[in-house]
């Protein structure tokens, strides 16, 4: 499969680059845009970004490997970020993490992000999400869920599954790479 960037994304990238006195400054913003579109940062995306900004690929790769938010493999349809840090830990975030992992057949002791066998969920412990007053917090894709309990987590997982089923009927399954 050849690597191609739709015109809208390239236009967005161009407008981002135009904000900065030096194109190199745009690199993280460009990587965000590419990851949003492709789901992860591939070697092609790194090459393309480097060419676009007049950098060497290593200048881009070293950022992809440094920043925790960039990933080089696609994640599941639902990305669950569970806050690991103190205020959330005091409010039980580690129990929530364990519960989620067990429900999805993942190993709660394993460090780093893990994706469930059906490819639906990627679960990850992250550091303080700046919402400690409403601990424990979990981000599901871009939405933040506060003061979570085991019951609410179960509901969230069910809702995600449910949403996915409706999406499949709408023909989005192929787009997300799901087998019926």
């Amino acid at each position: 499969m050849s690597w191609a960037l739709p015109k809208e994304v390239e236009e967005k990238v161009d407008s981002l680059v135009g904000r900065y006195p030096q194109p190199r400054s745009a690199v993280v913003m460009v990587l965000h845009a590419l990851q949003e579109h492709f789901g992860c940062i591939s070697p092609e995306a790194i090459e393309w970004t480097a060419r676009k900004l007049g950098l060497r690929p290593i200048n881009v790769l070293e950022l992809v490997t440094f920043y925790p938010m960039f990933r080089r493999e696609p994640f599941g349809r639902f990305h669950l970020r569970i806050c690991r840090t103190l205020s959330c830990a005091l409010a039980g975030s580690h129990q929530l993490h364990r519960h989620i992992c067990e429900r999805l057949g993942l190993n709660p002791e394993k460090p780093g992000p893990q994706t469930s066998a059906d490819g639906l969920f990627t679960v990850e412990f992250v550091e303080c999400l700046a919402s400690c007053g409403t601990a424990p917090v979990i981000m599901c894709n871009e939405t933040q869920h506060e003061q979570m309990t085991i019951e609410q987590v179960d509901k969230l997982l069910d809702e995600c599954r449910c949403k996915c089923r409706t999406e499949r009927q709408g023909g989005l399954a192929a787009e997300h790479g799901f087998e019926p």
Binding site: R19, Y20, P21, Q22, R24, S25, A26, V27, V28, M29, L31, H32, L53, L55, N59, E62, L63, F66, Y67, P68, M69, F70, R81, R84, T85, L86, S87, A89, L90, V126, E127, C128, L129, A130, S131, C132, G133, T134, A135, M139, E142, T143, Q144
Partner: protein, 468 residues
């Protein structure tokens, strides 16, 4: 009766208040900017004149405003250090990285009152001759970045941003720049490197003081979100009036984030120095006390980087008497006023305004293991003592917490913690990662020793090789 004092949260707390510009304008928004832009040069007795920009900078100096990002450095002083003679452009960056664990105040402003921040920023930029500014927002604030983008567009459409702002001939653009999940981007020189498109490795000071050699080697001001909002209120009410709030070295209002074991965790705005830890933790207007039948055990006073206080601890602070003389006094830590000076006099810091309350259900070994895990994950890796030390501390604490520790571990832990700070690292992260370890080991040493002893009792035959 201690109570909140709202300046920054004034509108946010109003029912029905929304983030769109019409709502902000209805609540008096952008009046401070209009006032700032309408200032005229003031003639001095010696025949010279003070320009409008310098007038604003003086008001900020008079206000006594101290930075709300962590260090509490005087904002007026920071601005006065900017190199205005280099001929290079001056940049301003709003630090919206908000990643110090326990801190969630900037989020309130960004999510609920973005125009307040933008107005403060425009004024700060005008006062410092800045024509291009950035808001560096942490990557996880996806919704926050969207809200700010929209607010910036509204401000542009209304003529508060862009070319020839409100017909004054002043040009300014502000852009959002998103981070991607690294705590060290909050450190101002790491932030600048990140904004230049490099790894966010903090720079060595000297020579890289941002006021002289910042973004693209140009003079740069880095201010926290809350600091920039305060600038708006200073222009609104005048620096002297602002300085009447709070206490002489700790003026104005401040957002305090209370989390952990209290009934009412949340973000509260106080007059600096007028409220004590006791008020913040126990009063109904703030934390509302501990959960039923629980006892206070410890207070983390300024984000997890701060040295911890033990409940019942007596602290020595210097105070100013009514006749102006300074005297030393001893008090219970709960009676300490919450301000930069008092908390640092008591041996810790109020940092980013984040108080984490721990009751007697907290296992201090687990608490410290959690904190150290954070630092081990977030060290940028440039300096050997910080990179290796933070990881060693986390590893030792992990095995202690799991009941695999051994007697020598405590001395080892302390020795590692003692070898990181003291100018051996490029940035203050080095200090930040060792302070919690040093303070918890001293103040809760019994708990650590008991944990090790329990392990030894259970497994007297255990060999060192087993430890992992």
């Amino acid at each position: 009766m201690p109570s909140e004092r709202h300046l920054i949260l004034k509108n946010i707390r109003k029912p029905g208040y929304s983030t769109d510009i019409e709502c902000y304008l209805r609540h008096g928004g952008y009046q401070a900017l209009r006032k700032a832009l309408a200032l005229q040069p003031v003639a001095q007795p010696d025949g010279t004149a003070i320009g409008p920009k310098e007038q604003i900078r003086r008001e900020v100096e008079i206000s006594g405003l101290r930075g709300r990002g962590g260090a509490g450095f005087s904002c007026g002083m920071k601005w006065s250090l900017v190199d205005r003679k280099s001929g290079k452009p001056i940049y301003l960056v709003c630090n919206a990285d908000e990643s110090e664990p326990g801190t969630f105040k900037d989020r309130q402003i960004i999510h609920r009152d973005p125009h307040q921040l933008i107005e403060g920023m425009i004024i700060a930029c005008y006062a410092n001759d800045v024509h291009l500014a950035f808001i560096y927002i942490r990557g996880e604030f996806i919704e926050g970045a969207r809200i700010l983008e929209r607010a910036l567009e509204e401000a542009r459409a209304a003529g508060f941003l862009g070319r020839n702002i409100l017909g004054t001939g002043y040009d300014l653009d502000i852009y959002i720049h998103r981070g991607a999940g690294a705590y060290i981007c909050g450190e101002e020189t790491g932030l600048i490197e990140s904004l230049e498109g490099k790894r966010p490795y903090p720079r060595i000071k000297p020579p890289y003081f941002p006021a002289v050699l910042g973004l693209y080697q140009c003079p740069t001001i880095v201010n926290n979100v809350e600091t920039l909002c305060a600038v708006k209120h200073i222009v609104d009410m005048g620096g002297a009036e602002y300085a009447r709030l709070g206490t002489p070295d700790n003026t104005g209002t401040r957002l305090v984030c209370i989390s952990g074991h209290v009934k009412r965790p949340g973000c509260y705005e106080i007059e600096v120095g007028k409220v004590t830890f006791r008020d913040l933790i126990f009063d109904e207007a703030f934390g509302g006390g501990l959960h039923d039948a629980r006892q206070l055990k410890a207070i983390i006073p300024g984000g997890v980087s701060a040295k911890v206080f033990r409940a019942g601890e007596k602290v020595r602070v210097t105070k100013r008497a009514a006749d102006g003389k300074m005297f030393e006094t001893e008090m219970d830590v709960l009676d300490l006023p919450y301000d930069f000076t008092s908390v640092s006099a008591a041996g810790s810091m109020s940092g980013s305004g984040a108080i984490i309350v721990l009751d007697d259900s907290a296992d201090m070994v687990e608490v410290l293991a959690n904190i150290s895990e954070f630092f081990a994950h977030e060290s940028c890796g440039q300096c050997t003592p910080c990179r290796e030390g933070s990881l060693w501390m986390a590893k030792i604490l992990r095995r202690l917490a799991k009941g695999n520790g051994q007697p020598a571990d405590l001395a080892l832990l302390l020795s590692v913690a003692d070898q990181i700070p003291g100018g051996r690292t490029i940035c203050a992260f080095g200090e930040a990662c060792s302070w919690p370890v040093q303070s918890l080991l001293v103040k809760f040493g019994d708990e650590f020793r008991a944990k090790v002893q329990a392990t030894a009792d259970k497994r007297p035959d255990r060999a060192f090789a087993e430890v992992q």
